[in-house]
Symmetry: C2
Subunit: 118 residues, 2 copies
DNA sequence: TATACTACTTACCTTAAGGATAGTGGTTTC
DNA sequence: GAAACCACTATCCTTAAGGTAAGTAGTATA
């Protein structure tokens, strides 16, 4: 097994940071969670995610779109309909989210009754 | 496959949030990364992690200790020596970090040359 | 006795994330 | 023609994360 230099170690944190940045913020996981259940329009998302403002929803959707996780389709109807959906790439996040959920669930148990897992 | 209600869906995000909170912040991953290479004293960590201040290092170490990821040992020598190490539990983070690194590496490729992966 | 080292702590300041509220532009319904 | 619906955008404000700089307490070395 090779030892990593300090620089290599710091560098190896960059992709982790990238991954975290993509899902960071108060609302992104909520949006992804909602979209995992199917396509949604703007108002649908706002209804699904209690507490989110139009400003934040719009902002976070743009960020998710920029990162290729969410696609935005405008239907030329009246009134105009805008539909958001997870891209196939966006769906690859689910595995990561499952891992995080698993670790987080164990952690929560451990924090509630530390004696039981010491 | 069962459909989740809105409440169940929101609830399932909680452990994910827990996991993310544990490693969130600008410095925690750097500290964990350094400790993955062996035990470290306060000054060692400060030297390892370029840019971190004593205040932030102290603050983040406390948070990691509270979460059971890092242990703090004071040796009754003169001058006093304080050693930090990852607990076995802290080491379980490595798997998660590897998954995040994997996804993040792919994401970085995709962001640099989107055409190649379209 | 002065300087330096270790392991921090304290007080203050800056910046960025997010919240509150209101407004825009188009369309449709009453 | 007034009110309502959709999909946002703009402006201002609060809060929290993190940075700066200095200080503390104990020991040890010159």
């Amino acid at each position: 097994m090779e030892e990593l230099t300090k620089e290599q170690c710091t560098k190896s944190l960059l992709p982790i940071r990238d991954a975290l940045d993509v899902i960071n913020g108060k609302w992104k996981l909520h949006i992804i969670g909602s979209l995992l259940h199917g396509n949604r329009r703007f108002k649908d998302l706002q209804r699904d995610i209690s507490g989110i403002t139009a400003k934040m929803l719009s902002q976070e959707l743009k960020s998710l779109e920029l990162n290729g996780l969410v696609s935005r389709t405008v239907y030329d109807s009246a009134p105009v309909i805008v539909e958001y959906m997870l891209t196939p790439y966006g769906k690859t996040l689910q595995k990561l989210m499952d891992e995080l959920r698993l670790w987080g669930t164990e952690h929560r148990k451990r924090m509630i009754s530390p004696a039981a897992v010491k």
